[in-house]
């Protein structure tokens, strides 16, 4: 019974007009909670103690780790949307993965840039071609490739299907990124938050990290809903312009 209710709710969202109405109601709350969490997270990030080994550079962790986590979560959202496009032909699924790609690229860029800025004082180098750094760099290139592919094809439905296949093939990179630090000998440290046996971080660092991670996650969903709404409007403009052109040619 509850399953059928959940399916009905998801089916209702397939209607872009219903999605727009829901987005209009949800966005102000989502944006407000995101801003509040960022204020708390940033306050904690700059008021908690420094690490006994890393000193104040540990503060880079509060933006690097959430950005790295989002770079993978965004691709997972895109992979689910790709399944929605290919299997259920959900009308908003391809809009969702098209809208998410620039956001994923931006968060992956932040993860790479802040990682490099953290690596220089701690490792003594800006970059090494180890498994973790290289696989995240490949993820960044995949995001750029998907953005280019979507823009290169005129037919949105064809672009959606080709992108969806490419996204699902590329999803193999996500477990490689996650487990690269366990499978290979890397300069990058192993997992210290999401791991068997619980986090190894002290509570002094864990709380600001978790709050910043939640703030970044809500920021992603806020921007994703806005980007989906923009894409729906873009398609409506294109459809109405085609209608206007047909009417004009009939009159001529």
């Amino acid at each position: 019974m509850s399953d059928s209710i959940a399916i009905t709710k998801i089916s209702e969202l397939a209607n872009p007009t219903r999605f727009l109405a829901l987005a209009g109601r949800v966005l102000p709350w989502l944006a407000g909670v995101t801003a509040a969490l960022f204020m708390i997270g940033l306050y904690l990030s700059f008021t908690t103690e420094g690490d006994y080994q890393q000193g104040a550079t540990v503060r880079i962790m509060y933006i690097h780790v959430p950005a790295a986590w989002l770079s993978m979560m965004c691709y997972t959202v895109m992979a689910l949307s790709a399944i929605g496009t290919l299997v259920w032909r959900h009308p908003l699924a391809d809009v969702s993965h098209k809208a998410a790609a620039p956001l994923g690229a931006a968060f992956t860029f932040v993860a790479l840039a802040t990682g490099s800025l953290w690596g220089k004082p701690m490792w003594g180098t800006w970059w090494v071609w180890d498994a973790r750094l290289t696989s995240v760099f490949v993820l960044f290139l995949m995001y750029l490739g998907l953005i280019a592919l979507n823009r290169a094809m005129d037919d949105p439905s064809k672009a959606a299907r080709v992108s969806a296949v490419l996204i699902l093939v590329g999803f193999v990179n996500i477990p490689i990124i996650k487990f690269s630090v366990d499978w290979w000998n890397t300069l990058h440290q192993p997992a210290s938050v999401i791991r068997m046996g619980g986090p190894t971080l002290d509570k002094e660092f864990l709380w600001p990290l978790l709050i910043m991670a939640l703030a970044f996650t809500l920021l992603f969903f806020t921007l994703h809903i806005i980007a989906i709404r923009n894409e729906i409007w873009r398609r409506r403009v294109a459809a109405q312009r085609r209608l206007a052109a047909r009417l004009a040619s009939r009159e001529a």
Binding site: T17, G55, L117, I226, W233, V237, A239, Q240, L247
Partner: protein, 56 residues
Amino acid sequence: MNHTFYIAMSYGITAVTVLCLIAWTWLDGRARRRELAGLEASGIRRRSAKPTEVSQ
């Protein structure tokens, strides 16, 4: 370069990237709304829009 430089650069790059994303989504949405309003003003409406307006 001291630690403060690396921390400031990290937070600076993140802030600029996030602000660019917010500006992009906001400006894109504003441009699309203007285009839709322009089309509606010139009498081009979605076929599904008319019955909804009548029922309201």
